[in-house]
């Protein structure tokens, strides 16, 4: 019985963190999947969202800026606004250049944001991070507090999914894929390519900020390691590409699937292998996930659920 309960709690935590990754993957899908914008700085936006929401909602502390004790919902909205604003600034500068430049600039912004979070100790408590972040439903009895948070995360995933599916099939989404496929033709059709790209980039960044905020509340703690490119940026890319870039269902599926693999292999290796090998096996895990990404890129570029092309409204012809 105890074991079953343990497994139940593990599945709840898996779905909570998997759901947060699904939000990140949906955010990346708006940028990369729909519009072809390569954001290599997901970690930075994620971390800023986490810090903004954490600082706005925690009780006063001498170690960092804060003491506003605002409701969690306000913290999450503020996280989205701030990350969206940073995304807008980055977009204004780099969006007209080719994808590679955006990738370099975003990896740079993520590193710079990490430096700020680490060095501005008066606001962020530096490397020690912000702790005692309030967690929604934490006053409910075990396990309902965990289940409550999981349901909150999953319902945010569901709402985002519905909104993004709507956006994808709306004229807005069609302009996005037009820009991705043939920028010149989209421009010739009179579309303001820069404006649409910035919209996609800002929306995606705000969604990543939301995921960051949720993580801070879920873990009750946040430190500059949240901006670690490996677990935040790289894993999200792998999730989206394996699930199916351009497909919202694929983004969610890829996130839950890869998070399960990532976390299950971590537990398996730390339980089964002696300590020195457990540390080494972490590197093997990264290597294998990189290899899976390369194989998917080369052999199955569409991922598990490839992007479905929109059908032309009537006449039964499927359009490109």
């Amino acid at each position: 019985m105890d074991q079953a309960y343990g497994i139940f709690l593990y599945v709840v935590s898996l779905l909570t963190m998997g759901g947060i990754y699904a939000i990140l993957a949906l955010g990346l899908n708006i940028q990369f999947g729909f519009t072809g914008l390569f954001n290599a700085g997901i970690a930075g936006f994620f971390a800023v969202g986490a810090y903004v929401s954490a600082i706005l909602t925690t009780a006063p502390s001498a170690r960092h800026l804060g003491g506003y004790e605002l409701p969690v919902a306000v913290g999450l909205v503020a996280a989205m606004v701030v990350t969206g604003a940073i995304g807008w600034l980055v977009g204004r500068i780099c969006i007209r250049l080719r994808a590679d430049y955006l990738a370099i600039a975003t990896i740079g912004i993520a590193e710079t944001l990490r430096l700020i979070l680490k060095n501005e100790t008066w606001a962020t408590n530096g490397a020690r991070g912000v702790s005692e972040v309030p967690k929604p439903f934490e006053h409910l009895p075990e396990p309902w507090n965990q289940v409550g948070l999981m349901l909150l995360v999953l319902s945010i995933v569901a709402v985002l999914y519905v909104l993004l599916e709507r956006a994808r099939t709306a004229p807005w989404g069609r302009v996005m894929s037009a820009i991705r496929e043939n920028e010149l033709a989209a421009r010739a059709a009179g579309k303001n390519v820069e404006k649409f790209r910035i919209q996609a980039f800002v929306t995606g960044c705000a969604v990543m900020g939301l995921a960051g905020g949720l993580t801070a509340h879920y873990l009750k703690f946040i430190d500059p390691n949240a901006a670690e490119p490996l677990t935040a940026t790289f894993l999200v890319f792998v999730m989206l590409i394996i699930g199916g870039s351009g497909n919202n269902k694929g983004a969610i599926l890829g996130a839950i699937l890869m998070w399960t693999v990532w976390s299950a292999t971590e537990i398996a290796t730390s339980r089964l292998l002696p300590d020195e090998w457990a540390i080494r096996s972490a590197y093997v895990r990264v290597f294998l996930i990189g290899l899976v990404l390369q194989i998917v890129l080369q052999r199955f570029p569409g991922g598990i659920l490839p992007e479905r092309r929109l059908r032309v409204a009537k006449g039964g012809k499927s359009g490109p």
Partner: protein, 296 residues
């Protein structure tokens, strides 16, 4: 004044020559293969670790094993290109950028697995700097670094200007279609690009390791300043990359000099942000770089 030269300008020149070597490779691959190679930082790390193992095996000075470390790194780069980048030659550039992003983590995890994550030093012990004219501090390892870096840059210059393959590389960087039409073997040029880029990256990694230590994240920390240097100099412009590297290195070190008042102008913790700011400024005002490189 001497403090300025000893503790800001000189370290800037040393760091700058390391950046310059790394930036040449980034700039050439960007210009010739047309993609931003995110695995370039890890190539530098790999070169440093090859040198570390060779020094352990032979007991020679790092500079003596440098050529072999450069060759080994170039061989790895050629293999990586064959298996992971070549399938994307005709595909949109974004595919190969993602592939290189994945490669960055794969190479790093191989290094972490094989050598562990503890700091290692390439040259044991501390060297005392020479004091010239009673005030100028010059340490022998720094003279070696700057001297060898200049030598390698001269070699690159001779390769690009005097040899057939060098001219073909420049032609392909200027216009791949025209190069192909004039009968240049493009795959040959691509292989030459990897050899030049990876061996210079290995040298940059070894020089950084001589100056500081060997560490698994050293290449990733170099990646951003090296990209900044390549963009500053102009993509596809090796001479621009050299100039850009020196500018970025010197600017990073000068940023913590007490220009105004007594304290450092910029807290040393933000040194790494200087390269990024210069790069962003360049992207806003002159994306083609100082040497009129390419903008994609």
């Amino acid at each position: 004044m001497m403090d300025f030269i000893n503790f800001h300008l000189m370290p800037g020149v040393i760091l700058g020559s390391i950046y310059a070597l790394g930036a040449i490779g980034i700039s050439l691959t960007f210009g010739i293969l047309r993609f931003a190679n995110f695995a370039h930082g890890e190539t530098m790390t790999l070169g440093a670790y090859f040198a570390f193992t060779l020094v352990q095996l032979t007991g020679w000075h790092p500079l003596a094993v440098l050529p072999l470390a450069m060759i080994l790194t170039a061989v790895v780069a050629l293999g990586v290109d064959r298996v992971f980048y070549k399938p994307f030659r005709a595909a949109p550039a974004i595919m190969v950028v993602i592939a290189s992003f994945g490669m960055m983590l794969m190479i790093r995890s191989v290094i972490q697995f094989s050598w562990g994550v503890q700091l290692k030093s390439l040259v044991p012990g501390i060297q005392r700097p020479y004091i010239l004219f009673d005030a100028l501090r010059v340490s022998p390892k720094h003279m070696l670094i700057v001297g060898s870096a200049l030598g390698l840059m001269l070699a690159v210059h001779l390769l690009l200007s005097r040899t057939k393959i060098g001219k073909a590389m420049r032609a392909m960087s200027d216009s791949p279609e025209l190069a192909r039409l004039s009968g240049i073997d493009t795959e040959m040029v691509i292989r030459a690009t990897w050899v030049v880029g990876a061996s210079l990256a290995a040298a940059a990694g070894v020089f950084l390791a001589i100056d500081t230590h060997v560490e698994t994240m050293m290449g990733f920390k170099l990646l951003l300043p090296v990209f900044a240097a390549a963009i500053l100099g102009g993509i596809g412009r090796p001479y621009g990359a050299m100039a850009g590297g020196l500018i970025i290195g010197i600017a990073e070190e000068l940023s913590s000099y007490a220009w105004l008042g007594d304290g450092p102008l910029l807290a040393p913790g933000y040194k790494a942000g200087v390269a990024f700011s210069l790069m962003i400024a360049m992207l806003i005002w002159r994306p083609s770089g100082l040497f009129r490189g390419k903008v994609f």
